[in-house]
Amino acid sequence: MPTATQNRPLSPHLQIYRPQITSVLSILHRMTGVALTLGTLLIAYWLIAAASGAEAFAAAQDWIGSFLGVLLLLAWSFSLFYHLCNGVRHLAWDLGLGLEIETVTQTGWVTVAVAGGLTLVAWIVAFAVW
């Protein structure tokens, strides 16, 4: 049965839109959230290894210190800082703060800068004390 609803205009798909700081950061929040969920399993592995004794912990530490381990840790630390900073941004929105579009754009760039800065500082300090 032909109806008017069949010819309704469809909303364009995601890939039609030019990426914007708002949409990109929103997707990044989800992606880092999923990455951190997988990361919690690695924290669990690290803690279980520590509880299993010195040898198991040393093996876990060796794995974390390997090229792949450091790479994962780097991704994990940025995800953690980004999700933390953007999470604060989300909590502010929940309070009704900073919802004007210019403010959202500004706080978006600030979030990226702070998350990147914190990741850098954490790694510099970690290597300095290592």
Partner: protein
């Protein structure tokens, strides 16, 4: 005709003031995780600083977790973190997974896996804390 009264059917379906529970606990765990995450990162760097060789890593870990406040904060970080992860993953599944039965199945598996690893992590912290 059903023997169940309309009230019996309505019960348990969620009343007013309960629908926002997921949203609320997601925010509650998020707020708790702000200071706990900062503490965790600083503490791990502190632990790296305390360990000056591969063997000392285990001793630094044991010494860190033997402090009751550190162990408490660590368990808090893990409990809130795993719970927050489960809540967040559910929202992602709700948005992207079809059909409904698959979304529910994946969510159930995620919840159980995260609960299992969360419990294992906390048990591990307690074992290290008590010198197991």
């Amino acid at each position: 005709m059903s023997l169940r009264t309309p009230v019996a059917r309505a019960r348990g379906l969620g009343s007013a003031k309960e629908g926002a529970h997921h949203w609320w606990v997601q925010r509650l765990t998020a707020v708790a995780l702000i200071p706990l995450t900062i503490w965790f990162v600083i503490s791990v760097i502190g632990m790296i600083a305390a360990a000056d060789s591969a063997d000392a890593g285990y001793a630094a870990m044991a010494s860190w977790m033997s402090n009751p406040i550190a162990a408490t904060l660590m368990i808090g970080f893990l409990a809130f973190g795993f719970y927050h992860a489960a809540l967040g993953m559910q929202v992602v599944y709700e948005d992207y997974i079809e059909p409904k039965w698959l979304e529910v199945a994946v969510n159930v598996v995620t919840r159980l896996v995260l609960a299992f690893f969360g419990i294992a992590s906390i048990v591990s912290v307690l074992m290290i804390a008590f010198g197991g």
